[in-house]
C-alpha cells in the first residue's frame, strides 16, 4: 500500500500544502509530506532572494518535479530571512525530509494575526484525507 502521509502536530498548514513552524517572530516553511508525495521526485527549487518581501498566499517560487511543476505559496507575509541553500544541489531533500532538511525559507513575520488563518494539524489531516 501507499505509505501513509505524515502530518506533524507542532506545525501549522495551508490548504496549498505548505507547513509553517514558529520560533519567536521567525517562521520556517516548507511543503508537506502529502505535497512531496503528490509531486514526486523534485529536481529543482526556484527560491527567492534573501531580503525579499513575501505576501501571504502569494507564490514566491516554484518546485519542479520530473512530471509536474508547482508554485510555492507563503503561509505568512514578511521578509525572507534565510533560504535553504542546500536545495540548489540537493533538491530531493524535499522528498526525503520535507519537515526537516527539506525546509524552504525562513520568514520574519510581519503580521502575527495571519497565523490564525492557517490550518491546525487536525484540519489539514481532514483536507488531505489522512
Amino acid at each position: 500500500m501507499e505509505a501513509k502521509v505524515v502530518i506533524k502536530d507542532d506545525l501549522k498548514y495551508t490548504k496549498e500544502h505548505e507547513w509553517l513552524k514558529l520560533t519567536g517572530d521567525v517562521a520556517t516553511m516548507g511543503i508537506t509530506d502529502y505535497a512531496q508525495k503528490e509531486l514526486g521526485d523534485v529536481v529543482f527549487v526556484e527560491l527567492p532572494e534573501v531580503g525579499r518581501e513575501v505576501e501571504q498566499m502569494k507564490s514566491f517560487g516554484t518546485i519542479e518535479a520530473v512530471k509536474a511543476v508547482s508554485d510555492i505559496f507563503s503561509p505568512v507575509s514578511g521578509k525572507v530571512m534565510e533560504i535553504n541553500a542546500k536545495l540548489s544541489s540537493q533538491s530531493n531533500l524535499i522528498n526525503s525530509d520535507p519537515y526537516g532538511e527539506g525546509w524552504i525559507i525562513k520568514i520574519k513575520i510581519k503580521n502575527p494575526k495571519e497565523i490564525d488563518t492557517l490550518l491546525a494539524p487536525a484540519e489539514y489531516r481532514k483536507l488531505v484525507g489522512g
Binding site: 500500500m1 529543482f44 516554484t62 520530473v66 511543476v69 522528498n95
Partner: protein
Amino acid sequence: MTQPKKTAFYDLHVKNGAKIVEFAGYLMPIQYQGIIEEHRRVRSTVGLFDITHMGEFEVWGKDAEKFIQRMTTNDVSQLATYQVQYSCMCYEEEGIVDDLLVYRLPDHFLLVVNGACLDKDFKWLSDHLSGDVELKNVSDETALLALQGPKAELVMKKLTDVNLSDLKFYWATKGKVGGIEMLFSRTGYTGEDGFELYFSPAVAEKMWNALMEAGKEFNIEPIGLGARDSLRLEMKYMLYGNDIDQTTNPLEAGIGWIVKPDKGDFIGRGPILKLKNEGLKRKLVAFEQLDKAFPRHNYEIQKNGKKLGEVTSGTFSPSLDKGIGLGYVPVEYSQIGTELDIMIRNKPNRAVVVKTPFYQHATHK
C-alpha cells in the same frame, strides 16, 4: 463518463505501492518508488511495465495485407512472418490518426495501437474495411507486459526455451514463457533491450510473479508510466497526442523512414507527397536546456522574442541530469547547435538543438 477500467495487474500495482492515475480509460500506475529511480533501474538493469492499456486488433482474411497496406504508411509487403513493423495511419487530407506496431503472424496480422486512440482507431479501420477482411478488437482479452532493460534477456532466459539470440530486434515468436504459451516480441519503448509479452488476462498474476521472481537476482522492480515517458523521450520516440497528432505530418516529425510512398496508394499519401515536393516548412527538433530549467508540453519556443512554436514533450532527463524537450520550429531553426529560448513562467530559458537520441548508450539490439 464511463468508469475507468482496471487491468488484470491492478491489485498487484496497489500492493506494490503504486500511485494510480487514470490514463486511456484505465487506472494505471504512474510510479511506484519514484520516477528517477525507476528510470535508472531500466537503464542499468531491468524493469517490468504493465502496458495493458495499449489496444490490440487482429486483422484476418484474404485481403488483410491489402487492407493494412492501404491504411498504414509503411510497407507491409516487406514484412516477413513474425516480423514487427513500426508504422502510422494518416488522414486523407492532413495529419496522423495514430502510430502503431504491425505484426505479421502466420495466419493474420496484429495491430498494436495507443490506448488513448483505441476507439478512434477501431472506428477508423472499421469505416475503411473492404474485401475479405475481418477486424477484431481483442484488447480486453489481451494482457500486455513489457520487460525492459539490459538484463531483460537474462530474465527471459530463465523462463523460456526459445533461443533468444535468434530473436532479433523487432521480431516476434510464439512460445512458452513461465509455462504459458504466448506471443512475445523483442520490442519496447525505452531504448533498452527488452520484450513485450501478450497473453490471457486469466494468467496475469502468474506471469507477473514469474517475471518478478526470475528478475529478482537482477533487482527487477515494477516501473510506472512516468518513467516510461521519460525513457521514451530520451530516445526521441513519439508520443501520440504530444509530438504527433491530427495536425502533424510524419515527415515533419522525423519519422519519414516509416513512410513508403513508392509502395503504392495508401490513405494520406497525397499530402505526404505534396510536402515532400514543396519541402518541409517546420520540423520537430530535440533540444536540451543550457541552464537548470525544465520544458513542459505547450511552453512557447522563441528566438529573439519571436514565437517559433511550442514544446510538444518535455521533462527532466534522469540520464542526462538536465531538461530536455521536443517541439516544432521553422526549418531554418532546426539545425543542430541552434540556440532557442524556452519560455518558462514568462522568462526565456536558453536551450540548444541537439542530435538524437538524447541518450546515446541504449542497449536495444
